[in-house]
């Protein structure tokens, strides 16, 4: 090889290096100030391309933007946080990606708080990162009770719902209404196991019995065999603890199994996006617990209309909760005059809040569980539906104190 060629190669390598430097982000980590980096950075980490894309997804950023709008309008010149940024990332429902993205958000993008994070395994990963980095995480879209139990930590809050709330709302109600004999079918991973445990407790406490508890592989698309097994001993209720694509498969196949109408189907976790995906017919009459519904009252509808103007779709509970969490975080920044995590935590603990999402809400000090009113819903029948996303109706409001599990000491911070 000639000298010119080797020179060219070296130049190429150096050039590439400079290009990479422009892309950047390297160098050792640096320290911060009173409003760290003189700005407040809100991180929204969720599933932007997978099964929970419609549940929270890119529209959660819109919800947080709405909160920033409202905060800025409310405090104008007196606002402590004059520069507020939002950073988003897609964790694809994978705990390893969530782990990496959370670290990046806190370190590389200077996020002061991370919101959202669906999928329990991803949520637990982010909670761990929040603890290590000593920065805030308000989890909105995951369900694991471990977030306020064995895996709780000082910097993590659980905002919207958890498996206990679902089990208590759905399980206890259906059992008390006469569905005594239950068989559970659950996906064999953290969330499913959590649901199975919670539902077993609640149904038994309400006077019912759990016959079979059938684990299914996760993910799975063929439930026919499991449904046959579950129906074999003639239960009153078959409880499906599945979520997302699994749930859609399960319900589809359940309805085809001839059990519809004979055996009641209880769904542990049902999102409005699932009903929309599969259609009201497949879910007709199903009862489930939800933490928020856009068409419930005037306040919710006002928020929903504002949201629809920006996104052309109705908000889910996740969007409303993201709005509420961001708003309350900013209020806390305003009250303490800083975005220092420890001071914000102290401010938030014990706070009682009433806003569009949290009705009779309270941020519990012992385990950072944010309790609020929950609702028992029923899926509407086709003729009751008034518009594309008007798919459920609230039958009962479950007061905050009843809706969530009392702190049981499993959380030590």
């Amino acid at each position: 090889m000639t000298r010119s060629t080797s020179l060219a190669l070296t130049a190429g390598a150096v050039g590439t290096g400079l290009l990479l430097a422009a892309c950047g982000g390297g160098g050792p980590a640096a320290g911060g100030g009173a409003l760290t980096d003189d700005k407040v950075v809100l991180g929204v980490l969720n599933d932007q391309s997978g099964i929970y894309k419609d549940l929270s997804g890119p529209n959660s950023k819109v919800a947080v933007e709405m909160a920033i709008e409202d905060y800025t309008k409310k405090y104008a010149d007196k606002a402590v946080a004059k520069t507020i940024e939002i950073v988003t990332a897609d964790h694809q429902n994978k705990p390893d990606i969530a782990n990496t993205k959370a670290q990046e958000m806190y370190d590389r993008q200077k996020a002061d708080i991370i919101l959202d994070v669906p999928t329990s395994s991803a949520a637990l990963a982010v909670a761990g990162v929040a603890k290590a980095k000593k920065k805030l995480h308000i989890n909105i879209t995951a369900g694991s009770t471990a977030l306020t139990g064995a895996q709780c930590n000082k910097y993590t809050f659980h905002y919207a719902y958890d498996t206990w709330m679902l089990a208590h709302g759905t399980g206890a109600t259906i059992t008390k209404a006469g569905g005594k004999k239950w068989n559970l079918v659950y996906p064999d991973y953290a969330f499913g196991q959590d649901m199975q445990k919670s539902f077993t407790e609640e149904v038994t406490k309400a006077g019912g019995t759990i016959g079979q508890s059938i684990p299914t592989p996760f993910p799975n698309d063929n439930f026919a065999t499991y449904i046959t097994k579950a129906a074999a001993d003639d239960p009153d209720v078959i409880g499906s603890m599945h979520a997302g694509g699994d749930l859609i498969n399960f319900v589809k196949q359940f309805n085809q199994s001839g059990l519809k109408g004979k055996t009641q189907l209880a769904v542990g976790l049902l999102f409005i996006t699932d009903i929309h995906s599969l259609g009201v017919d497949q879910f007709e009459g199903t009862q489930f617990t939800d933490s928020w519904y856009w068409n419930f009252d005037e306040q919710n509808r006002a928020f929903a209309d504002r949201f629809t103007a920006k996104t052309q779709t109705r908000p889910t509970f996740a969007h409303a909760a993201n709005y509420s969490a961001a708003m309350n975080y900013l209020e806390s920044v305003q009250a303490t005059g800083t975005d220092d995590a420890d001071k914000i935590v102290a401010d938030l603990e014990g706070k009682k809040i009433n806003d569009v999402f949290l009705r009779n809400g309270e941020i519990r000090k012992e385990d950072h569980n944010v309790i609020h009113d929950a609702y028992l819903n029923e899926v509407k029948s086709k003729d009751e539906v008034t518009e594309e996303w008007d798919l459920q109706k609230v039958i009962k409001t479950i007061p905050a104190a009843e809706a969530f599990k009392p702190a049981d000491g499993s959380c030590t911070m």
Partner: protein, 339 residues
């Protein structure tokens, strides 16, 4: 095409000699130096955890190339060794608090132990069958890890892997300094792989790749060589996986998934099968590309990766480094003719 024809088919059209990129040792030394400079400078240019990922995936790709480019065996289940080592490293780190290099060594040992029976069984078949067997074994390991929740954490993954390093807190907490502690380990892995390729043992592997029947006729126990190559490759993959787990502080089922196996094959092909250095180059491209796309919110990672892959396989079969090497060799030959 019959299965006979399949196993007899001329393998990935590669030269018998590991084609040197450049003939003169001075030039080769210069290029090696450039490479080292890049490795040392990387965390200044790129977010350090991403730089670490490039090194880890680069080593992983080298391990696949060792098997594919130099022994002629496509493993579509190499994630089994990367992932098994990731979990083993994590478990040792969490339960014993040993410095992470020692935990990584534990991971390498586990990966190689797993490779011995797997290799013995897999090498009895060749070509696409070998790929299928490795895929099957990787899937089995995936499901075992999923079920063995008490040890692996199942869906949640193994969290909280500390980067313990003799109490030096800067290395243990700042990914920038961690890089400089972990990079030498990766380089050792590269050196081992390089040594294997450029050795009499490596020459036998190439002979096995090109014509197993002839190699056998010459008296070499082909199956034994294949298993040895397989185990060494698994060890190198394990080294990469262990470092990866330590860097992320996390090991998950994704590390054992067939999509990870697919990704590393993609990286190897992109860089250039049989070129050895193609792996790190391919890793750089893929990791940076994915990082860029993720930050920009672009919603079509698969489209871009898949298209690049299709284009490479169709038009630049020898990958980035292989094509560059071909061009330079052709230029050199033209120059020689003119003289």
């Amino acid at each position: 095409m019959s299965t006979d024809e399949l196993t007899r088919a001329q393998h990935v059209d590669l030269p018998a000699e590991p084609v040197r990129f450049a003939e003169r040792p001075l030039v080769r030394a210069a290029m090696l130096l450039v490479g080292l400079v890049v490795v040392v400078a990387l965390p200044w240019l790129i977010y350090p955890p991403v730089a670490m990922d490039i090194l880890a995936w680069g080593l992983f790709a080298i391990s696949v190339d060792l098997l594919l480019g130099f022994t002629g065996l496509l493993s579509f289940g190499h994630a089994a060794f990367w992932g098994a080592s990731a979990y083993a490293t994590g478990l040792v780190a969490i339960h014993s608090g040993l410095p992470f290099p020692l935990a990584v060594i534990a991971g390498v040992v586990v990966a190689m132990l797993l490779a011995v029976p797997t290799g013995y069984l897999a090498v009895r078949r060749a070509g696409i069958y070998f790929a299928m067997v490795t895929l099957a074994f990787a899937q089995m390991l995936y499901f075992v890890a999923n079920q063995w929740r008490s040890v692996t954490g199942g869906e949640d993954g193994l969290q909280g892997i500390q980067k313990s390093f003799f109490g030096l807190t800067s290395i243990e907490t700042d990914p920038f300094y961690f890089y400089y502690a972990a990079a030498p380990i990766v380089l050792i892995g590269v050196a081992i792989a390089w040594r294997v390729v450029h050795s009499p043992f490596g020459r036998v592997l190439v002979a096995v790749r090109d014509n197993p029947a002839r190699a056998r006729a010459l008296g070499y126990d082909v199956d034994r060589y294949k298993v040895m190559a397989f185990v060494i490759s698994a060890g190198v993959a394990g080294l990469a996986g262990g470092v990866f787990a330590a860097s992320h502080g996390f090991a998950s089922l994704q590390e054992l998934s067939w999509t990870t196996s697919g990704k590393v094959v993609l990286i190897t092909v992109l860089g250039g099968i049989g070129t050895f250095w193609g792996g790190p180059i391919g890793a750089g491209v893929v990791v940076l590309l994915e990082d860029r796309m993720a930050s920009s919110g672009f919603n079509g990672v698969g489209i871009v990766t898949g298209t690049i892959f299709i284009v490479i396989v169709l038009l630049f079969r020898h990958g980035i480094w292989g094509t560059a090497r071909d061009l330079i060799a052709r230029a050199a030959a033209a120059r020689r003719r003119r003289r």
